[in-house]
Symmetry: C2
Subunit: 504 residues, 2 copies
Amino acid sequence: MAWIQRLSLSRIYPSSWTGCFHGSVCRGLSVTSANAAVQKLVPNEYDGPSVKTPIPGPRSQELIAKLDSITKNSGTVQYFVDFKASLGNYLVDVDGNRLLDLFMQISSIPIGYNHPAVIDVLKSSDNLHAMVNRPALGVFPGETFPDMLDQAFMQCAPKGLTKVQPMMCGACSNENAIKQAFLTYRRKKRGGPATQEEMDSCVTGKEPGCPLYTVLSFNGSFHGRTLGCLSMTNSKPIFRLDFPSLGWPVAPFPRLNYPLEDFVSENKAEESRCLQEVIRSIEENKVRGRDVAAVIVEPIQGEGGDNLASADFFRQLQAICKEHGVALVLDEVQTGCGTSGHFWAHEAWGLPEPPDFVTFSKKMLSGGYYFKDEFAVDAPSRIFNTWMGDPPKLLMLGAIIKVIQEMDLVGQARESGQYMMDGIKDLQARYPQHLSRARGMGTHIAVDGKDAESAAKIASLVREKGVIMGLSGKQSIRFRPALVFQPHHADICLERFDDVLASL
Amino acid sequence: MAWIQRLSLSRIYPSSWTGCFHGSVCRGLSVTSANAAVQKLVPNEYDGPSVKTPIPGPRSQELIAKLDSITKNSGTVQYFVDFKASLGNYLVDVDGNRLLDLFMQISSIPIGYNHPAVIDVLKSSDNLHAMVNRPALGVFPGETFPDMLDQAFMQCAPKGLTKVQPMMCGACSNENAIKQAFLTYRRKKRGGPATQEEMDSCVTGKEPGCPLYTVLSFNGSFHGRTLGCLSMTNSKPIFRLDFPSLGWPVAPFPRLNYPLEDFVSENKAEESRCLQEVIRSIEENKVRGRDVAAVIVEPIQGEGGDNLASADFFRQLQAICKEHGVALVLDEVQTGCGTSGHFWAHEAWGLPEPPDFVTFSKKMLSGGYYFKDEFAVDAPSRIFNTWMGDPPKLLMLGAIIKVIQEMDLVGQARESGQYMMDGIKDLQARYPQHLSRARGMGTHIAVDGKDAESAAKIASLVREKGVIMGLSGKQSIRFRPALVFQPHHADICLERFDDVLASL
């Protein structure tokens, strides 16, 4: 089978990344004549996977036992990584297995392992003192902090959003974005200062100081695992079973039929049904005194099974929020930072105005959220914690954003994603008994197995052949490669995937 | 006034930290003859504060405006820091003001600014690849991760606790510790696998899958600002106003009278009253189907005003929890890592068995919690998030723990704390119209001003003289120095404090 090599020549790697920047990663490297012709974005990257042991191998198993003796929580660990030997799109495990990684630490390595631009940041003595002294950024930040924010977050800010609040991870980004939405909602509703009764009652969590306001989320959503975020997470029992809940409302998220072109009117009706439920829920909860202060939604539901909706759905959702005075919070923790073929997935929708909040984490290395001016806090210390972010991550991200822009890696994700999607659709056409519902944006791609067991088995067999794919939802196989993923990597994945499907 | 110099000679700084390890910090250094005799734990540390401009100075003001244009949330920023020039106990701001720092980034710099042991970790090429590639530690950790956990967390584990779960910050440590307590409580109560009804109902946050279980916290507590943590935080309106609450129960925390020796029976009665309320709340909530699964408490209430209780109070609290099958979660985010004169404050209480959970963050550089084996999860992915910690922080902490142990900095905190407390009590005796209720453990010390305004004014005036103190609760001045704080630093603080009190 031949997947045609396509590569934009504008994305030649900067000359600064040449030769062997770290001895160990070059060991045993051999360039085949076929691959020598490919313009690699990652110089000296390995030519392909190499699997030497069952996975996890003996060394990984030893380390899993060691870890379990400390945390008693090692059940999710797949294997241990040799981060020194990993490079670009390739993860090398501690047993010497070299795996083409299309999952990338749960979608959170932006430009591949051991990128020299990131190494330079860590090696620079200019940055040392920003890394060694962890500041309380909300009180005593370092001199370069505003510049860090500018280079890390403002250079890639969604169009029309000029304010950002740094945080630490995806969960605390969502927690604080909705807190800011609650503040704004109540400020508008109250129209003046808080009453003494509100001030007194809130200290121990009582009304009226602590209102019964809610956030509306969608079936299939995942927004994090702290108790506030869990109250907006509606995908799998494992996330919420046995944990108390704020009891917030949930609306249905569209379940689209594929291929989209064959189900235009059905899908439109499905989206309309969901939007009607959003309106109904907002209105009903207001009557009950449980005002919906914010609607939170992922552009593509990541953990919940790679569920997408149309641009029109999101435009209408924004209009509904606006009409009802409800904040629209877009959770781009998994879709952000270029993977969708746009820097932010929502940029594909042509929204008439920016969303009210855009939250991020993962590929952005630490967390935060953009917001519209009208949602800014109106008093100090309403949104606050000890650290409010982490300078070393901002420094690293600043360098990464520069690489993404200089090399147009967002365009690369669009191209590589299209190439990969063509290949997945081809497989789906040839193995309809095993695959269905190929879907995605950019490299943020998924395809369904026939059931949960089958999807897991396929991913496991493909891994035995040296390629890491992820799972999501009930029965989806998901791809979350780095932005340096190229068509020749897709070829390797598709060939292995094909072999496995043929063997079933 | 003379505060006698006391210094254990066993704490001489290692010879590796000699001379000027970083050019810039030595600029303008002049050693006075008086101080030359003091055995400094921080070689080449500045001799004293030097204030050149109003604080915040012009450069800080410029940067505050710049920051505000990005975050619209700069109201809590006091000034910007020159982290290159800061050293040991001294913070240097961007206007060249050199301040003796007894607040240390909200109590989160363990062994002073720019400690060479921490710098070495960041400079080491061995650590580079653990820092450049941020792993999903719950799935694909690096080879050295178990060793990092051992060196960072297990070398200083509270007696009897041999399991630890790494996290990111104090809030997510508390969120996940109580989640683990909920899991254990329900596992014991249920006695078997979850029902289908529980599995189905929990996905959207409904009973019986999401139980109405609660966590009991105390008046005056602070446990973080995510919505779950806020539901256990009962100190100031600013933390909770306008945010929804889980409506969990709150018990009174003892309000002790000082000096303790004059109020023995009154304080005993006060503690007994609070413990009775704990019992009443646990029993009453159980009847209402809102079982208390955990009690969470700080050894010293940090943000709530430095409220302490006796060792006997905590021993009785543990007995009550045990009797009722409720987990005891000690939040040592602010009291941990040596500041109390014990590595963990609860080690002073002589508990008959270890607490069920001990959470930490701040001086520990990232978050986590220790727990007893019986509270371990019994299935994978119940306690999980993408990052589950941050390797660079573990590497740094490993080096810090080594320094703390080798130099007995916990013993130093006990000695310096006693010296400081004697000085504060002396000031209190001489200025009873301004100061009262001097209290604390180790260097974790506070004293009350006569009201909120007076306390803030004193802290501000002392800062003008070059010493940073913190505030807590309604009207307390709090001290949270690093573990390299010595009596000669206390002298400087006490002299400036004295001058300010005399001037009022």
